[in-house]
Amino acid sequence: MAGKNILIVDDAAFMRMMIREILAKNGYTIVGEAENGIRAVELFQELQPDLVIMDITMPEMDGIAAVRAIRKLDAEASIIMCSAMGQQALVIESIQAGAKDFIVKPFQAERVIEAVAKITG
């Protein structure tokens, strides 16, 4: 749904740009970008986004640890994982940590939109 505020978390700037372009084209607002888990938690508190798109493999703090930290701050936080680490055990670990969906890299734009639309309603 247009107008929803999204925080993008990925250590690769070009990956954040790819996701930003897909979302912006579909009417979503990107309120912030973070390059690691620690910055993601800080920006989540500061910006209170409607949704977070979260990479797993990142320096400083990985994405699953960041999901746990964010859900501690806000048990209702909506987070979608976006990672190449698509092993079933890690998908389950992410969902148990509080993520609502999992996008496997490399992704198609439609998959990103489908996941985001499902959660932001």
Binding site: D11, A12, A13, F14, M15, M17, M18, T57, M58, P59, S83, A84, M85, G86, Q87, Q88, A89, L90, V104, K105, P106
Partner: protein, 207 residues
């Protein structure tokens, strides 16, 4: 630190980042393939990219003089270079054993001695790695018939590195370490693209 990359006018930081992410995505997909075969969760470190001499590469890979299994292939097409999967002797033997058990329980193949099951698994992982890089970059890539060798690290690196070094004797490498929860399995993925291929990756991803 936006140093120009000699010769092709690339901005080092930006191009290295695309390579880093491509290698990370390749490895992530390759270990998912491994997980489907072993049902053992594999963790993966942050990929590091470096322009390194053979000696420096040896250090990046943790040095050591033990026997290493190297699975290497030539990457051809719109990205050219080499892809290597390196396993220490213990990890290779354990993985081989696990693959063979898997085959026995599934009854899919006759129990074969030697390294066939390991080779097949590594071949699949390499293929999945390249397919993921190809999907990300929208560039066509073909992997050559892979070669499996077992020797000391500097020896197994010799052949794949031949012809890859720049005039200063350095190769561009993206290195990703993987391991299982109990650390009974550890491995290294090494992607060595030609510099011109990194330029192609950069422009195809719109960076």
């Amino acid at each position: 630190m936006m140093k120009e990359w000699d010769g092709i006018g690339l901005q080092e930081e930006k191009s290295w980042e695309v390579l880093r992410e491509a290698a990370s995505i390749g490895t992530g997909n390759a270990v998912t393939e491994l997980y489907q075969r072993t049902h053992q969760t594999i963790r993966m470190g942050v990929t590091d990219v470096a322009l390194a001499t053979a000696v420096e590469l040896h250090e990046i890979l943790g040095g050591g003089s033990g026997r290493v299994f190297a699975f290497s292939l030539h990457v051809e097409g719109e990205i050219k270079g080499r892809l290597l999967v390196l396993l220490g002797q213990d990890s290779a033997v354990r993985l081989q054993r696990r693959m063979q058990e898997q085959r026995e329980t599934q009854g899919t193949a006759v129990l074969e001695p030697g390294m066939d099951a390991l080779k097949e698994t590594l071949r699949r992982m390499s293929k999945v790695y390249l397919v993921a890089v190809s999907c990300l970059t929208n560039l066509k890539i073909i992997g050559s018939r892979p070669a499996l060798s077992a020797d000391q690290l500097h020896k197994v690196l010799e052949k794949p590195l031949a012809g890859m070094a720049d005039p200063e004797g350095k190769v561009l490498c993206a290195h990703t370490r993987v391991w299982d929860e109990e650390r009974t399995f550890e491995g290294d993925f090494l992607f060595l693209p030609e510099k011109a291929s990194v330029l192609a990756m950069l422009s195809s991803t719109g960076s």
